[in-house]
Structures are given as C-alpha cells and as structure tokens.
C-alpha cells in the first residue's frame, strides 16, 4: 500500500480552555473516500481544520501528502469546503469561480467544468445571494474543485440537498477518488457512510473506530454503520 494521504499522531487541540481533541492518531489512505462520522460537536470540524492547517494545535503532528499540514506547497494541493458556504454572496457564481480560479492559477475553462460537476451550469450568472442554501453550498464545493486538488476535505457537503442531487454528488466524489483524489468527507447522516471506503467514527473528540467499512461491519457484527456506531458507544460505556 502507498503512503497515506494524511497521517496524524498525538494530535491535541484546546479551544476556549477545553480540550477538543486529545492525543488523536489516525491515517487516511490515498485515493479513497474516508467518511468522518459522529454527532454534532464531536470534533469533526476541528479535526478537518487541523488537516487543512488552519487550526492552532496544542501538540502532535499532522502530515498531509508528506508535508506538515498548512505548508505553503499544500495550498495548491488541498481543497477545503467549510460547513457554511464561504463564497461572496454579492457576486455571481461565475464571478466567484473566476476569482478563486485566478487565485489558484487554475485554467479558465475549469469554471464551467466545476459548475457542471455540482449541477449549477444553469445558474452561473445568478447572484449567490439569490440562490438557495443547497445551491450556495454547491458553489462553495465547486470552488474547492477548481484547482483539481489531490486531497479534498469536505465538511458536511450534502446538508440540505435533495436526494437526487446527493446521489449525483456522491457519484462525482467516487469519480474523483477513482481518478486518484483522496476525499475526507464529514457527515452526520449515517446512510452516507455506505458510500465511503473507510470510516472514522468519532465521539467527544475521540476516534471510536477507523477502518474500512466492511471491516467495521464484520468486526461488530452489526447490520449497518449506525448499529455499529451504537454498539461501539455502548460497549465503551459498559467497559
């Protein structure tokens, strides 16, 4: 197996005087889709921010594509989509994408390509402020695709999307992974876990399980990922 896309060792994060992550270790395989699952507030976003390198950490190492997270060369190789759409509401979809493409040094035709990938080819000239929440989230996602990054970190990319679109986006994620992109996707919807190769289950800042979906199901003997998650939580409380 090739070297992992992300290797985390002994990572700690303290926010507001409270430890959010404590000596967390994890590796993420290259060219796969890793689902980061867990309830709201369990530290998913903080962990993703560490991988992107925008989080101040309190110890430990995060190595991304062989470099320390947040190193300048990674700024072209890692794409990050925050949970809240971070695009300019007072610009059109095309103006947003064109600006970020210029910042990333991506070719101009990528603007139309990524708009099509997220199903917004009909809305490119609409103001972002006039779009629905789900459409705004897709503009934000399209922005991260512009530079064809090797690692895509997506924080809850499918919240508020209609089911058809969710399936289309997951198909797009699969295509990216097949082409060699590594995806780290957080979700609190367990049925999306079925679309992932590997799963990381988190609770209260701890990693309960990090393995392939099949291995998790086989090990716990559960019917699905949700059952496996519940078993791991109750098993831990009993122990």
């Amino acid at each position: 197996m090739s070297s992992p896309a992300v290797a985390i060792a002994g990572l700690g994060v303290v926010r507001g005087g409270r430890p959010v992550l404590d000596s967390l270790s994890l590796t993420i395989a290259a060219g796969s889709i890793t689902g980061l699952l867990g309830p709201s507030g369990c530290g998913k976003t903080t962990l993703m921010r560490c991988v992107v390198g925008v989080q101040v950490t309190a110890g430990g190492t995060v190595t991304v594509l062989g470099l320390p997270a947040g190193s300048p060369p990674l700024r072209r190789r890692v794409g990050y989509v925050t949970q809240a759409p971070s695009v300019y509401a007072d610009l059109t979809v095309r103006e947003n994408l064109r600006y970020f493409a210029r910042v990333l040094g991506a070719p101009a035709q990528r603007v139309d390509e990524v708009a099509a990938t997220v199903g917004l080819e009909g809305q490119v000239d609409a103001l972002v402020a006039a779009l629905s929440g789900g459409q705004q989230a897709r503009v934000s996602l399209a922005t991260a695709l512009l530079g064809s990054p090797e690692l895509l970190v997506l924080d809850e990319p499918t919240v508020g999307l209609d089911p058809v679109l969710r399936i289309e986006l997951w198909d797009a994620f699969r295509q990216l992974a097949d082409a060699g992109t590594t995806l780290l996707v957080s979700s609190h919807v367990m049925d999306e876990a079925e679309r992932c190769d590997d799963l990381v289950l988190m609770r209260d800042g701890e990693v309960l399980a990090a393995e392939s979906r099949q291995a998790l199901i086989a090990r716990t003997g559960a019917a699905d990922v949700e059952q496996a998650f519940l078993q791991l939580v109750t098993g831990r409380q009993a122990a």
Binding site: R15, V52, G53, V54, Q55, V56, G70, P72, R75, R76, V78, Y80, T82, A84, P85, S86, V87, Y88, A89, D90, L91, E95, Y99, F100, R102, V103, L104, G105, L127, T143, G147
Partner: protein, 244 residues
Amino acid sequence: MSPQITLATALRVLSQLRRDPRTIAMLVIVPCVLVALLRYVFNGQPETFQRVGVPMVGIFPLVSMFLVTSIAMLRERTSGTLERLMTMPLAKLDLLAGYALAFAVVAVIQAATVSGVAIGLLDLHVAGSTALVVALAVLNALLGMALGLFLSAFAATEFQAVQFMPAFLLPQLLLCGILAPRDSMSDALRWLSDVLPMTYAYDALSRVAAGDGLGEVAVDVAVLVAAALASLALGAATLRRRTA
C-alpha cells in the same frame, strides 16, 4: 506576491462594489452635499469656508474608506472567505494590495468629484495645485483603508466596526487643527496631535490651499505614507492562516 492575484482581487472588490450602487452613490454624493452645506453654513464668513473647505475635501475619502474597508474586511472574516483565501496560494500582501488598488480607484472618483463641485460650483479657492489636492485625497483614502483594515481585526460585529469611526477618527478630526489652531490647544493635546496622522493630512491640505507646492508638503506626505504602510503591516499581522 503575484500581480495577477492582486489584480484579480482588486477586480473582485470592484465587482462587489458595483453590485451596491447605493453605496457608490453615497460615497460620491454625500461629500459633495456636505461641502455645499459647509459653504452655506459659513455664508457670512467666506474666509472660514476657504480655510476649512480644502482640508475637508481631502479628508472625506479618509473617513469613507475607513468605514468601507473595515466593514468589507469584517465581512471577509465572518463569511469564511478570508479563511478560504488563507488556505489558497494567496499572499497576504496580494489581498491587501488588491483592496488598496480597488479603493484607490474609488477614491480618485470621489476626490475628483468633490473637488470639482467645491472648486467649480462653490467657488472654493485653491492657491496651489488642484491636482495635488486630489492626489492628497487619494493618499488619505489609502491611509483610511489601511487604518480600517487594521482596526477591523478588533471588531467582532458590524456594530463595533461602525463605532470605530467616532472612537478613532473623530478625535483626530478634533485635534488636527481644523477646529482650532493646534498652538492654542493644551500642551498634552498638542503633543497627542503630533502623533495622529490626520494632523499631517490637514497640514498638507491647508498648505496647498494657501499656495504651497509638493516640496513644502513633502514631510507631511512622508508621514502619511509611513502611517499607511505601518497600519498595512499591522493589518497584515492580523490576517492569520491559523486560528483558534
């Protein structure tokens, strides 16, 4: 730093402003109306209008760019776009210079319009060069932008950002010499005014109004440039790639 990214940022900021025609209209029209107001407030004392008119023309852009920039930068922070840009191959200077370039364009339009109205319609007399008044106004706009950029880091909400105007700019306006000569102030206030950038803006503008040229206001210009660069540097230091 990359000229393409700086230029792309400037164009992006201008596109955003273009979407807000009411703000552009206010940036250009409000100073004109205020100068006209000043002209008729001092209807019986035309010499007072002559004394304060030119400095006002040159100081408006400082105030408006301060406000526009602090709100714009606060929006970049709260909307997450700043964090996104910080994860991209964009130098902090690209962002700052992009804003500076865009607002300089607006400042030129603003300063040229206000000077045109004041000099052409309201008989404001400039003994020195009118072009120098416009140039000083643009420099003041850039100073206002740099101050706004820096101070916006200390505002958590737009309410707070707006309050920085009376908190930081109004005292400078009171102390710069436009209301009362600095010689007549208490010593402590005069010393304080020595370290406030608007004092040098007022000094330069009133000298040009009285007939001085670039040579005579070179020291003022140097102080204004230094103050703008210092607050840009402080502003850059508030742009963090990593946050808690």
